[in-house]
Amino acid sequence: MLDQTDGYTTADGRKIGGVVMEMKNITLRFGGVTAIEDISFDIREGEIRAIIGPNGAGKSSMLNVVSGFYIPQEGEVWFRGSPRPPMRPFEVARQGIARTFQNIALFEGMTVLDNVMTGRLTHMNTGVIAQALWKGKAEAEETANREIAEKVIDFLEIQHIRKTPVARLPYGLKKRVELARALAAEPKLLLLDEPMAGMNVEEKEDMCRFILDVNDEFGTTIALIEHDMGVVMDLSDRVVVMDYGKKIGDGTPDEVRANQQVIDAYLGVSHD
């Protein structure tokens, strides 16, 4: 069913492309604690890939490895067909990997528009002198980037708070602004760390819809972490299941649901 080079077609008929990112035998330790143990999986162009697992399974650590915040002790990260040398997070971001954070990391003192514009930083090349003088190329660049930022703002339906400082916004909207900032970078891979955490049912439904729309409209490849099983199963094309730092399942939602190890992990069978 899974063709290694050409991808596959989802149940709802979307074409999924080749491998964008591949994690090969990743092991991550903090001192004596092994947070991730020998995990491999891939993320394909255009798909929504979920990493799920109970609390403390190592999902967030995994996402931090992908985004460069942690460097694994063993294993290789392959991005777009070549192995990635150890990189700092800002270099990873410049490669086209954008992310959101579980605990929201926005620039609280800046407006929503300014926050979204910071997502465009990696696409701006004009030098500081030209920028300061506000001439020709710099101006054209600013306008072009502004257009993309505004488009994202429209898309995520946050036009009414464009000029509001982020610190004043309620939690659910902050989450959406963070998504907007990541999306403004036009990422080749979008990482979402628990996008639904702490939201009420209505906000969760909104966020689900936005994630599906983003994937549909822009064809963005998305990898997300979630521990709410129900949400993940509706949303994602393929799911990696982690428990105690190990991979215990990988496949379509239906496959994962039928996996005995996954059922045990979620229902709490004792580990011996």
Binding site: S67, F69, R88, P89, F90, E91, A93, R94, A98, R99, F101, A105, L106, F107, E108, G109, M110, D114, M117, T118, G119, L121, T122, M124, T126, V128, Q131, A132, W134, E142, R181, A182, A185
Partner: protein
């Protein structure tokens, strides 16, 4: 018009001019504080170092000449050339950028994620190091700095006001130039931080390190940039103050005058630094004029600090600082 009123007007004008000079120093503090949350105690010494470097370069002084002579037994002191002011200033800017890089590379880089008080202590250390380094590099004698800024009484204002009121105002040309420089500097800095990519990145770094990394901002680069800007502002302040009162150790003490300015204006506001400087400049001159004779004078030494204390009690965030709100 009564003489007293005219005299008060002249005092006010001179106070405004002095205020601009205070604001120039305060600006350097605000810049670093806004972008990195560090209160840079070394700002005053940086102004001294910048001014000493400029004089040294323009006069063709051999850097570290005392050290070289002591070790090698030579008697070098000057290269024997003179460099024009513009070229000297450009070279001094290069030195200040290099200093910014060195501060980031040798000190601040190792203190990422430390408490603000630790960073503050580091800048105190930096201040003392730089003070000694400046003496070692350029010597500790009082030096004259002349980059061609006009000095002395402005004849035009003197004559015009004499024509109007029968009393000529004494305004120093240097103060007028300093005001123009400060205005240009502020416009440039505000434009930089609000409208450029690097300015936006700078504000982002000040706000949240992790988020800044995730949108592809290099923290190291931004911090070098911030320290370079502070070095540049220090150079400008050093030129104006150095021209006014000579390049000497007391130049580094103007930093202390910037403290009350910051408490008034707020540590995070560029306009605040300007307005704070003006209020203190005018306030201390008028206070000396009105109250000074009653208490035996010398009120200029303490007026600013008392005003700052009052502000600390009633409005700790300053006039323009970000409001301190604690969410419960």
């Amino acid at each position: 018009m009564p003489d007293q009123l005219l005299y008060a007007m002249e005092v006010t004008l001179n106070g405004l001019m002095a205020g601009v000079l205070y604001a120039l120093v305060a600006l350097g503090f605000v810049l670093i504080f806004k972008a990195s949350g560090i209160f840079n105690f070394a700002q005053g010494v940086m102004a001294l170092f910048a001014a000493a470097t400029l004089v040294g370069i323009m006069d063709g002084q051999v850097p570290f000449s005392h050290l070289i002579n002591a070790i090698l037994g030579t008697k070098v002191h000057h290269f024997g050339w003179h460099i024009p002011a513009i070229a000297g200033i450009l070279m001094a800017i290069v030195v200040m950028v290099f200093l910014a890089w060195a501060v980031q590379y040798f000190v601040m880089r190792h203190l990422v994620n430390q408490e603000p008080i630790i960073l503050f202590m580091a800048t105190i250390g930096l201040a003392y190091f730089l003070e000694g380094f400046s003496d070692l590099m350029w010597g500790s004698e009082i030096k004259k700095l002349d980059v061609g800024l006009p000095q002395g009484i402005n004849i035009w204002i003197d004559e015009t006001t004499y024509g109007w009121f029968g009393y000529g105002f004494f305004i120093d040309n240097l103060d007028i130039v300093a005001t123009i420089i400060a205005a240009l500097l502020v416009v440039a800095l505000v434009a930089f931080s609000q409208y450029t990519k690097q300015g936006r990145a700078m504000r982002a770094v000040a706000d949240d390190h992790q988020a800044a990394l995730s949108v592809g901002i290099s923290l190291n680069f931004i911090w070098v940039l911030v320290w370079s800007l502070a070095g540049f502002v220090a150079l400008v302040a050093g030129i104006v103050w150095g021209t006014k009162s000579g390049v000497q150790f007391s130049l580094s003490l103007i930093a202390l005058k910037a403290l009350p300015v910051l408490m008034l204006g707020g540590f995070t506001s560029i306009p605040g630094a300007i307005i704070g400087g003006l209020i203190i400049g005018v306030g201390e001159k008028l206070f000396e004029f009105a109250i000074g004779p009653l208490v035996g004078g010398a009120t200029e030494n303490w007026f600013a600090y008392v005003l700052a204390l009052i502000f600390l009690v009633f409005r700790p965030q300053g006039l323009f600082g970000e409001k301190i709100i604690e969410r419960v």
